[in-house]
């Protein structure tokens, strides 16, 4: 078995209201150099070694991410 890490983020240009609020919080703590915060999801999937990248991408496209608003990276 192997564990694959998938990181899902909102596409560039899609409003990340949560990221903006966290950026404000960082500014309030004095980290005023922070110019942007984007928040995403980290998903760990354990599955058989022979699972193809295509299959993982299909999982992301069909369910784990919403391709209209999100993109993903398989690590």
């Amino acid at each position: 078995m192997t564990t694959v890490r998938v990181v899902i983020t909102l596409k560039p240009g899609v409003l990340d209201a949560q990221g903006q609020a966290v950026r404000q919080g960082l500014h309030a703590l004095g980290y005023e150099g922070v110019s942007e915060v984007r928040i995403g999801k980290h998903i760990e999937i354990t599955m058989p070694d022979e699972t193809s990248v295509d299959e993982i991408n299909a999982m992301c496209r069909r369910f784990l991410a919403n391709p209209l608003i999100e993109e993903w990276h398989v690590g």
């Binding site: 409003l15 209201a17 949560q18 919403n66 608003i69």
Partner: protein
């Protein structure tokens, strides 16, 4: 007429819908469990509000994979009426029965208050009895109602007359693109909206405007029953032969 209300783990407006349909409108109601694989012999399916599967992953995403959803999809594809309210709307989006997606409210706050919205289309079974431009008041209660679609998809939705309701107070309470509060599919039989008609169906609740949507689909189904169960599409075309696809008074510059 017989309504099927789908209950997901985490639905919390299911009994409000059942109450309005059964006790206020006197209709038959079947409670459909998310684990069922059939919608039985209902005339209309309602996906109620709530937080199906705790809104895990994305609101509506896990619910869209429920065993009952293939049956809801084929019910929708047969042209029969499907209504998604709030979380039910999110489920319809995630299931691909309606176009677009929901983002967190722009304010990041859960918005829970009455809103006014304008009827943009009367070609759906749920707005069949209403008139274009009619203003309805009913409550919203959601954290993810910020409707989003890429600009070209929004243009297409506008062009094909799929915007059914727009927030009419000059702002979107959640940041929704083009003030969109409710949508239909291209055929017009699947409708989703963020405001809660079932919470505005009795005078004691402060508004009865929500009842109009349910009464509309009842009268639609009754008219279809007269002309035959398979000919409701024809009935719709007869109802609105000169349907105007342009939004009534939408002002793009106010976005």
């Amino acid at each position: 007429m017989r309504f099927g209300v789908v209950i997901f783990p985490g639905s919390n407006c299911d009994h409000d819908c059942i109450h309005v349909l059964r006790n206020v409108l006197g209709q038959d109601v079947v409670e459909l469990w998310h684990g069922d694989s059939s919608v039985n012999d209902v005339d209309c399916v309602v996906l109620p509000g709530g937080f199906a599967y705790g809104d895990y992953l994305r609101a509506g995403a896990v619910a869209a994979t429920s065993p009952i959803m293939p049956a809801v999809k084929s019910f929708a594809e047969s042209g029969r009426p499907v209504l998604g309210i709030c979380n039910g709307f999110q489920v319809l989006l995630e299931a691909g029965l309606l176009p677009g997606a929901m983002l967190r409210n722009r304010s990041l706050q859960f918005r829970c208050r009455p809103v006014e919205m304008r009827v943009e289309s009367t070609r759906t079974p749920f707005t069949w009895n209403l008139r274009e431009g009619q203003i309805l008041q009913m409550p919203i209660a959601h954290g993810e109602g910020n409707y989003f679609a890429p600009d070209d998809m929004l243009d297409e939705i506008e062009r094909t007359g799929q915007v059914v309701f727009r927030y009419s107070e000059g702002i979107s309470p959640n940041g929704a693109a083009r003030f969109i509060a409710g949508l239909c599919n291209q055929a017009g039989n699947v409708v989703g909206l963020m405001p809660h008609p079932e919470r505005a169906a009795e005078a004691i609740l402060g508004s009865t405007d929500g009842r109009l949507l349910f009464e509309s689909v009842v009268s639609f189904l009754e008219s279809r029953a007269v002309v035959g169960r398979s000919s409701w599409v024809v009935a719709t075309e007869q109802r609105s032969p000169t349907y105007d696809l342009r939004p009534t008074t939408y002002d793009r510059s106010r976005r």
